[in-house]
Symmetry: C2
Subunit: 395 residues, 2 copies
């Protein structure tokens, strides 16, 4: 049977996922991948998770396996409220929603806010997974400039002045893909701008706990609570396979996100939420986070050192104080999508930066490098090899 004519308009325009196709080779034997975007399994507190799972079965019994509220497992919402308040976000448990990862939150936000053709303002570059959540809703993307310090407030303001924007999307801290972070001053300025324009800002904050140097920065949510939909996740500080996304949204949007989620998956895995509830309640994150940072900090340093040492002088790269990624940019004219295949022939993989841009013309000479998965000597070797590939491409 050919069901082509049965496909929805959105499906017809989606096309195959180019990035999905090119990353298929990453798993090839012998490949060293700096392409990943996932936490090291060494960062998962396996023994603790086992203990907490036992505790969940004892404490919650069959409730941990039963249908549950769409809004989220009540003990997790209560514990997350305490946790978020410690981080300066004034919230009660009723204002918290648990989604199936940050991805689930992004999908729900679009379903509530985006009609076909509506405008979403995104950073250039922006998080690829967010684009994958947004695109099926057939929005128009309006790009906002970034520089080394992240989103440029003047660009945000210009975009809001000249467009009807449904929401602004930003990853303000250790952004995926660039690793860039907004300064305190820029956060304040951005908060002022979104308040001035009555805009909704989606603040995606998966990485801020993974800080290896410098001072912690408050979320934009703390500065413009009525305008910000704040999303965080336990994927980087507990385990991504549990699929726990946490949302604090203005009441009106919160209400619709619940109704929308009921249609999408009824609720997120009760068992995973119960384990997460115990993890937060026991303050285990306070024990675990330093271990995760101890694990990543030397990898982060190894990557930055190797880039400094080996990468061609014509390249610049970001120097993030945390997170999981470094962003490198080669000289104009260099095609790092084509270069990807040369790198792969040499058994080293990265993500071509082009895929993080909404404008076809942008980012061809950029790449995203991950430092959380590989071991330190492997990172050093891979960066060295990659540098050789880049030199050969520029000959």
């Amino acid at each position: 049977m050919d069901f082509s004519e049965k496909l929805s308009d959105r499906t017809k325009t989606m096309g195959a996922s180019a990035i999905r196709e090119i990353l298929k080779v990453v798993g090839k034997p012998g490949m060293v991948s700096l392409a990943g975007g996932i936490p090291s399994p060494d960062s998962f507190p396996m023994e603790l998770i086992k203990e907490l799972t036992d505790k969940v079965y004892t404490k919650y019994g069959s409730s941990a396996l039963q249908y549950d509220l769409t809004e989220g497992f009540t003990p997790l919402r209560e514990n997350m409220a305490v946790f978020l308040n410690k981080n300066g976000i004034n919230v009660n448990s009723e204002q918290i929603l648990i989604h199936s990862g940050s991805q689930g939150a992004l999908d729900a936000i679009c379903k509530v806010l985006i009609s076909k053709g509506d405008k979403i303002a995104v950073e250039a570059p922006t998080y690829l997974g967010a684009l994958q959540a947004f695109k099926p809703y057939e929005p128009q993307f309006v790009r906002m400039d970034m520089d080394d310090e992240g989103l440029v407030p003047e660009s945000l303001e210009e975009v809001l002045r000249n467009n009807e924007i449904k929401f602004v999307y930003t990853v303000p801290t250790f952004q995926n893909p660039t690793g860039r972070s907004l300064s305190l001053e820029r956060r304040k300025r951005i908060a002022e701008i979104i308040i001035k324009y009555g805009a909704i800002l989606v603040e995606d904050d998966p990485y801020s706990s993974l800080r290896y140097s410098g001072e912690a920065l408050p979320s934009i949510k703390t500065m413009a609570p009525d305008n910000v939909i704040y999303i965080t996740t336990l994927s980087k500080v507990l385990a991504p396979g549990l699929r726990i996304g946490v949302v604090v949204a203005p009441e009106q949007i919160h209400k619709w996100m619940v109704i929308v989620k009921q249609g999408v998956d009824l609720h997120s895995s009760t068992l995973g939420q119960a384990i997460a509830a115990e993890y937060i309640e026991g303050n285990y994150l306070d024990e675990q986070l330093p271990k995760i940072i101890d694990l990543y900090k030397p990898k982060h340093a190894a990557m930055l050192n190797a880039l400094e040492k080996y990468f061609p002088d014509s390249f610049t790269f970001s120097k993030p104080e945390g997170g999981m990624f470094v962003w490198a940019e080669g000289p104009e004219g260099l095609d790092l999508v084509k270069g990807y295949w040369t790198a792969v022939e040499n058994n080293v993989a990265y993500v071509p930066g082009k895929y993080f841009f909404t404008e076809e013309s942008e980012g061809l000479s950029t790449m995203r490098l991950n430092f959380t998965m590989a071991e330190i000597p492997v990172i050093e070797g891979a960066v060295k090899k990659l540098a050789e590939v880049l030199e050969s491409l520029m000959k």
Copy 2:
């Protein structure tokens, strides 16, 4: 802030969920609820699930907590392939998708197939959760007639002849809400019709294992494999809190469902899938299912007997051979939405049948009754009380 103007067109048309509102009172102390749609927690193999969880941590280690394939956890897909083949569905593991419950599958199917205004053919009445998945995609619903034996094939054919239907949705066995099942003959006829019209049929099959009498019936999928998107779930035969939906779709639709799911939640909980994989692999369902049936069968009998004994003669009710629900229909003119509040005042709750219909004018004198949650004496007492309420309403 008032963000009303930021809402999407779909949100603006969604309105509050009436059913959600009316069911809020069900949890009131002292209420006996026949309104539920959830399995008894006594049906969960708690000790076994604990053992399987331990095994998962030993066997899969950190993989059980890591990001995983959008398509589903490979061992679960492999084990489900074996399981489905035993049930006559010829499938290999690559053709299986794991979604976040059947709900997640229904959402993905709409995303792939439905543009605003497209037509979906549904039974009258149909599963409320499916309507909640479908409505945000702004389809038109085309109703198909049912009788005591389920979907009427002639009505299906008439609908397909006169409409461009994106897909037909049916719950052929122990339907929610009616408990009705299609005979073998009707299944064959429906398979012929959908093949004849090149139609896609979504066969939602959560209940067929819960059979208390009569002969097992093959799924429509076995008769029209190229036209049917088959959905089943472990929510009724293991535990719903794990949120495991299983889909076998024609290849072209399968492919898009993966891409769409990547944007919606990346993948379903790895831990939950791993536990499910062990449950299927160990053939524990063969042990557990008779226990679940032993649990529900007397409740099913108690409900049917009590209806026979107490309900007004002017009511008819379905006599399902399995599943979780009985459907009752009162005399024309009786308003069982209004009656709901009288019942609730008398501490007994049901679901007004009206909410399972897509046409505003239908189902006012119908109700859905669940028999899996309450204990037998409670079921008997509740049906008796409800019968008194109904008598009083008809005075």
